[in-house]
């Protein structure tokens, strides 16, 4: 019998968090506004003492590091996170921002103590597009590795039983997620062409870019259907995606080249749709709400105007954000409480608010600063 990874949070508390978040997502009134800091593996894995070199080279180490990371997170971070499994959380084949480009012909660079980097883009000409079209996105490059890692994690799943205090034992490795999306359609185009080249193509070669995006979306849809099958995911299909690089486009440019293709992706999913985009996206908010019809705007940038986002999305799109991660990194707990209070006061009244950073807590951020968001929710975010 392998030792159980005991997570020092009661199962009862986990259930309370789940209900609180669920209510927020339905625009109902929870006891208080939930808080879920966005803490990714570049923060967490070093906390386990496991090096990135080992994390990436062995699926069992990856799984173990993820479970220990989630244990650390749950026991040290004040959060309403209530699941330690799923993509971008735990028990998943974690190749993050490299898997799309890394399965479509870009080289990926791995490091001993850093997360992997995507190498140079290669798509320049029409004949490159034809070559891309023929590529097997599901079974090559990093995606081939993802499938192998998934199998390997399943094979050792029983070695890693997990339990919340007073709860049932479960085995997160039994059905690990594949990475579904990371860089987003325009972001992938940026990886494949080079980001500057992709931006120039918006103006100089919009048809070329549209065609590239079309191929990318075809491949993404095919791949996602495959994920749904392999992981036996539920229908209606919930989906979360991001397209960070598109923040740097004007609304007209976004609509002109990106939107049509993103709508194909969007319409492929009939469940709850969560979208993430960093940075100042004020000029795109209406498109996201009215045309892409997103259900949730997750980790939106701290630069977004709170009055505007409340006006455009409040009460109909769940808002997950947007305390400044740089303030969380270097401010005082009181400054962070006050910044969180402002978000609560501006976005809380229409319901559907979850406090998060906007976006991505940096390694080295003091714990008391991260936890100040929860303190603010307790002080200023109670509905009754």
């Amino acid at each position: 019998m392998n030792p159980v990874i005991e997570i020092g949070i009661t199962a009862e508390e986990i259930e309370k968090r789940r209900l609180r978040v669920q209510k927020a997502k339905r625009f109902e009134t929870p006891d208080r506004i939930p808080v879920i800091p966005a803490i990714a593996h570049r923060f967490l894995v070093p906390k386990t003492g496991i090096r990135f070199k080992d994390y990436y080279s062995d699926p069992e180490t990856m799984l173990r590091a993820q479970l220990l990371s989630q244990k650390w997170l749950m026991e040290n971070i004040r959060t309403d996170a209530h699941s330690i499994t799923g993509a971008w959380v735990g028990a998943w084949t974690d190749f993050q921002n490299t898997f799309e480009a890394g399965s479509l012909g870009c080289e990926i660079h791995f490091f001993d103590d850093d997360i992997p980097w995507v190498g140079e883009g290669w798509i320049k000409t029409d004949s490159d597009l034809r070559k891309l079209e023929k590529m097997d996105f599901i079974h090559s490059g990093i995606n081939a590795k993802q499938l192998l890692y998934r199998e390997a994690m399943i094979a050792v799943a029983e070695k890693y039983p997990v339990r919340f205090l007073g709860g049932e034992i479960f085995y997160p490795g039994m059905n690990p997620n594949l990475t579904h999306t990371s860089d987003g359609p325009f972001g992938i185009a940026g990886d494949l062409m080079g980001q500057v080249e992709a931006f120039e193509a918006v103006i100089e070669r919009p048809d070329f870019l549209r065609e590239l995006l079309h191929i990318i979306i075809d491949k993404m849809i095919e791949y996602l259907d495959h994920c749904w099958k392999v992981e036996k995911l539920p229908v209606p299909k919930d989906f979360a995606w991001t397209d960070d690089l598109a923040m740097s486009l004007s609304a007209e440019q976004y609509r002109d080249v990106v939107l049509t293709e993103e709508l194909r992706l969007r319409n492929h999913f009939d469940g709850y749709l969560s979208m993430h985009m960093c940075g100042k996206t004020d000029h795109l908010l209406k498109i996201f709400a009215d045309e892409l019809r997103i259900n949730e705007y997750q980790g939106f940038g701290y630069q977004v105007d709170l009055d505007l986002v409340s006006e455009v999305m409040g009460g109909r799109v769940v808002l997950v954000g947007n305390v400044d991660p740089m303030l969380i990194y270097s401010g005082t707990p009181e400054e962070i409480r006050q910044a969180t209070r402002t978000v609560i006061e501006k976005l809380g009244p229409k319901r559907g608010l979850i406090i998060q950073d906007g976006s991505n807590i940096s390694p080295g951020t003091p714990l008391e600063n991260i936890n100040a968001m929860m303190e603010a929710a307790e002080l200023y975010g109670r509905y009754e």
Binding site: V196, E200, V202
Partner: protein, 225 residues
Amino acid sequence: MDDILSLLCTCVERGKVNRKSPHPADLRDHDGADELTKKAVEMGIAPQTILQDGLIRGMHTVGERFRNKQIFVPDMLMSARAMVSGMEHLKPFYISNAIQTKGTMIIGTVKGDLHDIGKKIVAMMITGAGWNVVDLGTDVPTDKFIQALKEHPNAVVGLSALLTTTMLNMEQTVAEIKKMSSTTKVIIGGAPVTKEFALKIGADAYSPDPQGAVEFLNALPARTN
């Protein structure tokens, strides 16, 4: 003369590179910055005037519009391309000293950081403001900045970082630069960077956008390369 320089300025503002380029649609089959600069030179207009009243003036408007979110990254990159295509025709005059650059700026994204786009835009804007720019690229270790500074001892240094983790590498780079030459001015930028951080690590300035960097440089006393 004013006419051709105004046209040149418009080409830079609107990202019209050359006659062949299809963008912007309403300027199709018109001369771009490339042809117009060449013509201006052939007309005998002083190179310094072409630079100042055509290219620099155009880039100034572009910088302001970018700052005010009236234009976005793709437009900015096209304007920069137009500017560069014009600059090509002025190169000989830099060599013959008929045009004086305002100084040299060494710029790079610090070690561990691959983010290139913002830094590139800053570099282009500074070029378009009449400075000579030495772009060291991304993931640049301190040594490389120091080496470049040895080659251009009067240069101003610009550091970019987009990650909170790599932002910390700026501190060491600034310290090394100041140790080597305490009078060298260093300006830093990139999304996570703040004015307070710049102060804390001993940099001379911070700007959230390229236009601010240009304003900082233009306010410095005249210098040679």
